[in-house]
């Protein structure tokens, strides 16, 4: 194997979060020389799937001042806001937790809609064969102390006896309106809020608002959500429903969702000949003279690498090299988001019933907890034992809300508690066996354009944007990865198709 310090590398990719991993996958069939590093001892970066011990260590490392490693600090785009991070670990007194390795805690559990661009790209890039997909089942809303399943199609509405005739007619009108119109074209123009749209033109009674918002997976209050954005998401949900099977609108990859996809993508990079180094971060980046068009990258173990380009996400690049971010480029401002992850002592089977006798058994359920007027909703993503993330007889609840004040953690905790009470069957008394809570700063919307973010005038140091906080994986990640892929390949990008490969011949079959 070639020594790392010799020669010139075409690219150094820092961090194995999903965007970087997809980039490695996209480049894996070219003859480029690429080194892919990650300062952690595991794959996945911000999308990692961690065992219990790893998750606890992850939280411990972030407690306190928020300094993660001596060489790196958390960087904020707006210098005025300070990073206030709240981290905590809770362990119940009662026993019931399995072995630490029996769990895969997903740091970014995201569902993938059937009618997304992302799913077909997993197929065309041939990595779908290494992934097992599970069904996302019904969406629920918890409002006024009641837990209710949300109808996703006309037959669901027909069968729902809790809805009045008027409710049903309005919902039917909404269904037809969304599918027959192109309201999504106004997305981003901020013409009116979702609340106004629902109450006004669509005449949806207020008691149904939370349920409809749940289907859009929008995270702000309905007064603040842009109606064009919401209608586009609602259309996506309705068109995706039933696409792969009755009652099924989205899927998730088994064993940790996006973490599994990142791992498989990196594996493709390795098969493509890229060098992989875990446990190695970037200590510094030094530009060479302009004519050479190279940068000198120093790894955390002192290794010096000469490369044409280096790309990573904000936290994967040393802060001093990020001083001059081209501010004319669009970066959606980050917003505090509170998270909690809880292991539950029961399987909460009522969330995982199949929509029909022929349909798949879902492994994920989504709940929107309505907190009333003027308060952003809490989203709960419930993963069953079938996701492989926990032992049988248990489940995991991922909770999040776009709120940063100290009461956010209490809000998440009480949301989880409400659901446990509402969903407990028979004498089953589900409790939280273990949980962590933390805060992150994430954009709430996807970047408006896929223009590249770069840090130096000679375009050698690139930053991939953070993905927006969202229950569903946003297709915009493909756009930023593609832009980077084109930048790296230059004119040669015309020779290749982005994320579209032939099946690799099985090495065991070759004579």
């Amino acid at each position: 194997m070639e020594s790392l310090t010799e020669g010139v590398w075409d690219a150094v990719i820092s961090g194995t979060s999903l965007p970087q991993s997809l980039l490695a996958l996209a480049l894996s069939r070219t003859d480029l020389k690429v080194i892919h590093v990650d300062r952690n001892s595991y794959y996945g970066g911000v999308d990692a799937g961690l065992s219990l011990k790893e998750a606890e260590a992850w939280v411990e490392a972030r407690k306190g001042t928020g300094k993660v490693f001596p060489a790196l600090t958390w960087l904020t785009v707006t210098a005025s806001s300070s990073e206030s991070v709240e981290y905590g670990i809770f362990k119940a007194e009662q026993s019931g937790l399995g072995l630490a390795r029996a769990y895969t805690i997903s740091l970014k559990p995201q569902i993938i809609y059937a009618k997304s661009r992302f799913l077909p790209s997993l197929v065309s890039s041939q990595i779908h064969t290494q992934l097992e997909f599970q069904a996302v089942g019904a969406f629920w809303v918890f409002s006024d102390g009641e837990l209710k399943k949300i109808p996703s199609n006309r037959e669901d509405v027909f069968a729902d006896d809790s809805l009045s005739v008027r409710d049903k007619r309005r919902l039917m009108g909404l269904l037809r309106h969304v599918l027959e119109n192109n309201d999504d074209e106004t997305a981003g123009t901020r013409q009116e809020s979702l609340k106004i749209k629902l109450q006004g033109q669509l005449r949806i009674p207020e008691n149904l608002e939370a349920a409809i918002q749940a289907l859009t997976l929008t995270t702000d209050t309905t007064v603040n959500v842009d109606s064009g954005v919401a209608m586009a998401r609602l259309k996506r949900h309705l068109l995706s429903t039933g696409y792969f099977g009755p009652g099924l609108a989205a899927v998730i990859a088994k064993y940790g969702g996006t973490s599994e996809i990142a791992q498989v993508a990196c594996r493709a990079g390795a098969v493509g000949g890229f060098v992989y180094l875990l446990g190695h971060g970037i200590e510094s980046i030094r530009a060479e003279s302009a004519e050479e068009n190279l940068v000198q990258v120093k790894l955390s173990d002192g290794t010096q690498i000469s490369t044409r380009r280096i790309v990573g996400m904000e936290d994967d690049l040393p802060s001093d090299s990020l001083a001059s971010l081209n501010t004319s480029q669009d970066t959606a401002p980050p917003h505090p988001v509170s998270h909690s992850i809880s292991i539950i002592s029961s399987r909460l089977g009522s969330f995982f019933t199949s929509a029909s006798d022929t349909g798949p058994v879902p492994a994920v359920s989504i709940v929107l907890v309505d907190r009333g007027q003027g308060q952003a909703p809490v989203y709960l993503q419930i993963h069953s034992e079938d996701t492989g993330e926990c032992p049988t007889g248990q489940c995991i609840i991922y909770a999040s809300t776009v709120q940063s004040n100290p009461s956010a953690q209490h809000t998440l905790k009480s949301s989880v508690d409400h659901i446990l009470t509402a969903a407990s069957e028979n004498e089953d008394n589900p409790v939280v066996l273990w949980s962590i809570h933390y805060q992150s700063n994430e954009p709430l919307t996807a970047p408006q354009s896929s223009a590249l973010l770069f840090h130096d005038d000679y375009k050698r140091i690139f930053q991939l944007p953070k993905r927006p906080h969202d229950v569903a994986l946003d297709d915009s990640v493909l756009d930023s990865v593609k832009a980077m892929w084109q930048e790296i390949l230059g004119e040669r990008s015309a020779e290749y198709d982005f994320l579209r490969f032939e099946e690799r011949p099985d090495p065991n079959e070759e004579e």
Partner: protein, 364 residues
Amino acid sequence: MASHGVPRSATREQRSVEARQKELREIEQYQSLVTEIRQGVEKKDLSPELLDKTSALLKKNPEYYTIWNVRRLIFANEFDNLVNQVQNQHLEEDKKQSQVLDIINHDLYFLFPLLLEYPKCYWIWNHRLWLLNQGSFYLTPGGARALWDDELTLVSKMLTRDSRNFHGWGYRRTVIEKLESDELNGQSLSRAEYNYTTKMIGQNLSNFSAWHTRSRLILKILNEENADAVERKQMLDEELKLIHKALFDPYDQSLWFYHQNLMSNFDPDTCQKAMAPGLSQAEKVAYVQEEREFVEDLIEDAADSKWVYQALMDCVLIEGKLTGGLSAEMNKNVQTWLEKLKELDPLRSGRWADVQHTILRRTV
């Protein structure tokens, strides 16, 4: 294969010279198979080899119905041979039955993948029926019944794959009829089938076939159970409640079809054949007025649905028949609705103009 909602497109691929040659060879093979089969039939050589040839041909083209006839000729011949053997005491009756059953099962097995691939081919369904009827003829009631029971399972599976395949629904009605027949020691399955339509409608409200089958079953149930006028009226009320519940979607044609079917109970020209023929004049008028009010209420949420105005027209015309004419106010409303219909359904504006004319003539 075409299915509901999926447009059928003739694929015209660019054919290479090789592909064209291949196709010409296949056409040649096909035509020589046809010739061989015809010759075999002329010579009355109804052998297993001929059967194999028909199998090969039918796999390529199940729509060639003459070849199915040839197949049946071969089987009929085999059955005749078996019957003769029993008569000549060379074969026992129960051995004959098991051999007949083998032949039938073997061919049902042959048909199954063809049916999956061509679920709308009349001749495949037809041949299945022929085989099963042969079973009824030659086997004991118990043995035959087993075949028909399996067939009901099969058609249920086919309807799960495509719940709106009318071949499947028609076939199901035939199978049920056989299972209920005396020759198979059957009993009425109407209530169970009625529940089946409820289930299928719950899975897809636009299922014309399910609603249609339901309407047939209701008449059957009421007759079989010797329902009196009260029970008939009760069932009518339940069905009206159901269709009102489903009409939260006033844009669905299949729902309005069923509604129209229920309204035939109130129309003096059609009520004798309907489920509740014993309704009094006053009751009919009350029902029709209630329906008119229900439909008028739908205009609020569905002002652009032509079905709503059409249903209103139907209500009013029936009311007119019952009360011997329309009030001046009703006439005015009718004219407004007809104008609306001409606007919403411009392709049929001629028809609506005609209706206008007819009503005007009546009131003159």
